[in-house]
Structures are given as C-alpha cells and as structure tokens.
Symmetry: C2
Subunit: 232 residues, 2 copies
C-alpha cells in the first residue's frame, strides 16, 4: 500500500523505514527536497543529515509535500514538528483535495521551544494539535497515536520489556481500525492498544509530553513508555 | 506525629483516615467547620456529608485552616480543590508563620470546571499549582506527589495489581525523603517511587490529569494508575 510520511526528522525517517520494511510503498514529504538533500550537518540531537539516511533507503522517495499528500493513499503520516504541522498539511493538501477522505495519522506533538527548555505545549490544555488538524481538514480522518513515546519504541515496542501502551483516538471508527492494524504490524499487541474515543482525547495524550520529557532526564535513555496498570 | 490535612472532600478524608490509622495525630482543616458539619447532602460524586464520615473517625478533629496550619508539624497536606488551594493555604498560614519551615505535601490538581466537562487546567502548561504554592510560601518545603491517581489508590497501592508508580518532586531533598517514608508507610515500594527532581516537574504530573480523566471513562472504574515501563 502507498504511504506518505511528512517530515524528514528522525521520527519521520523511523516511520518511513518501518513502513518500507513492511513492504509498503513509501515517500517522505518535505517543503523543499533539494534543500533537505543539500544539508550536511547533523541535527541538534546528533542525527546524521537526511542524505546519509536516504542513501540507506533508496526505495523511499523524497518529494514535495503536495506530491506526498497525493501519493499517500493508505494513510498520510504527520511526523513534522508540531509548530509547522498545519502549514505542512496545507501544503500536502495541494490546494485541492489531496487529503480528502484519507486517513491522517498524527504522531506529532505541539512542542513550543520559543521560550527555551523545557518546551511548552502550543496549543495546550484547552485544545490540541490533533483537534486543530481535524478542524482544518474536516474531510480527512485524523487518528492521533504514537505521540507519547520515542520513535524507536513506536515501531518496535519490544525495545521496552513488559506491558506498555499506545493510545489511539479519532472521530472515524474505520480509520482507527486501520491504524490499529498498522500498530499490530509494528508489533503492538491488541491488548496494549487503548482507544480513548474521539479526537478530543488528543489533548490528554499531548499533555503527557512534559512528564515524558522530564522522565528522559531521570531515566537517562528513551526506551520507556507509559503503561496503564489496572484492576480488572 | 502531628499531621494536618486541608480539605474535607473524599481525598482529604481518605488521607486523614490513613494517617490516623498509621498512629498519627490528625486534624482536618476547613474554612468554616460549623458550616461543613451542618451539611446534610451527598456531594456530586455521591459521597456522604462530612459529619457522617466524621462520626466514624472521632479522633480526627475538624478545625479552621489556621488551626490546622499550626497543628501540622510533621506535614501539612493540601487536599483542597486546586482552584481554592492558594487561599486555603493562605488561611492556614494564619497571617503569621504557621507554615514556615514545614513540609507542605501538595496532592491537589488545578482542575478548572468553569467551562464544564472535561475540566481544563489552570494554571497549565507553563506553570503549575505546585510551583505557585512554592512561590507563595517560599519558607515552606513543598513536595508534589500522589496527584496522578485516585485517592484510594494513593493510600492503598495494592488495590491496583502489578507495578505502578507514584511521582514526587520538590526543591527540598530532606522534605522529599520524609514524604518518601510516608509513601512507604502507605504501601508504596521504594522502587515504585519516582523522584522527578525539583518542583517544576509538578507541571508534568498535573498535566497528565486530562489523560487520567479520559481513562476513567474508558476503564469504567478508578482502580488504575500510571506505570513507567522501561528497559534497564
């Protein structure tokens, strides 16, 4: 199936590589492919420039957002930085209906670093990026998921031993079922996929990011995840 | 030891009863004890009026906030509704130094129901109730803890089987050690008590409330809690 991943950072790369390994046809969308490929520096997290990564995944094409939006039939994955997500998705829509009717998997977080570390959330508290995207693209079927963990854990939950959970929410039940199937293909057991209901639950999952970021300092690595432990 | 619990709701009652059962001398502080004792209605959650509860715990006194602030030597526990916490603590300080040097255990959440359900957080995102309290009472030693779960789980973690966690944060290390001892007396294993560092981490733990509240609807009861599952 054809997937588009928006965003050339480590999250987008990780998702795209995994979708490719599962046998899907994948493109990565970016604002300016030539500019992305021209970069030679490591990013602030020490990740290699895109073109080094690209050389390892020659079957994954890098295309402008609009071409990605058109290509992604099975789903379009938003893995852009939260502050740029709406403009990236607008570009992906291509001025027309590139995203209409499609499943939009939103794995981004609206982290705002403008006041330094730690980032705040914008929006936070009374709105969410997931809801903003659904409002901006009412004909698309937004499913918020995977945003509560490191990207390597997203696609390989066994990196963290024991039970831990992934949340999904969205207004379209069939879209959530499709995303759930994809999560199972990533290795998530059905019992560890928690459906929180409609897209307004994105507020809850985005708002755990400050705790997640705090735990990164406490634990010292990113191989951890939330688990909801419960009595029967 | 002498503990004061501020707040006559189910959270304050649960903490006070547990502290009493552990052999401590406990008072509950409220704005107007006579008014609290005069109430005959169940609250909106179906909890019985305070005086019915009080009849079961005759050794726990109900006193004005200022008397509670003076009484609570080992610690003063803030179990008031978040929107009233600062005024309750101001009353508990008694215009003088009732709270100076003391351990303030803040288990409240700044839930704002003014726009209906679900509540938002006020403050949220770029500040927290825990930080506000520490700023308002700089001579007190604020420890934020227990606010990420139902009150019955706070004092009886075995209600939820398996591993699950309680967070502590605060600027005073010795105060956190005392609170950690209290948590162990409640039944929390040492390995399940996660020290997040200074009081700014309260932002993270308060911001999980929207997800916690959403899970209440999904799970259908309150016997659940967050666990941070991690690779070694």
């Amino acid at each position: 199936m054809r997937y588009a991943v928006l965003g050339t950072g480590v999250v987008g790369r990780t998702l795209a590589a995994t979708l490719g390994a599962l046998g899907h046809d994948v493109v990565i969308g970016t604002r300016d492919p030539a500019a992305t490929l021209a970069r030679t520096d490591h990013d602030s997290y020490g990740n290699p420039p895109y073109r080094e990564w690209q050389a390892q995944y020659p079957r994954i094409g890098l295309v402008p957002f609009a071409d990605a939006g058109e290509f992604g039939e099975a789903a379009v994955v938003n893995a852009t930085a939260g502050v740029t997500s709406l403009s990236a998705l607008t570009a992906a829509a291509g001025g027309g209906g590139n995203l209409a009717g499609k499943v939009l998997i939103d794995i981004a977080n609206p982290l705002d670093y403008s006041a330094g570390m730690p980032p705040s959330l914008n929006p936070g508290n009374t709105d969410s990026l997931g809801e903003q995207i659904q409002r901006a693209f009412p004909d698309s079927r937004v499913v918020k998921t995977l945003n509560t963990m490191n990207s390597q854990v997203m696609v390989d939950p066994a990196r963290v031993p024991g039970d831990h959970d992934v949340f999904v929410c969205g207004d379209d039940i069939e879209a959530k079922q499709r995303v759930t199937e994809l999560l199972r293909a990533f290795g998530w057991p059905e019992a560890r996929i928690i459906d929180l209901g409609d897209i307004t639950a994105a507020r809850g999952t985005e708002m755990v990011l400050p705790l997640w970021l705090r735990l990164l300092g406490v634990i010292g690595h990113a191989d951890y995840n939330f688990h909801i432990q419960r009595a029967v």
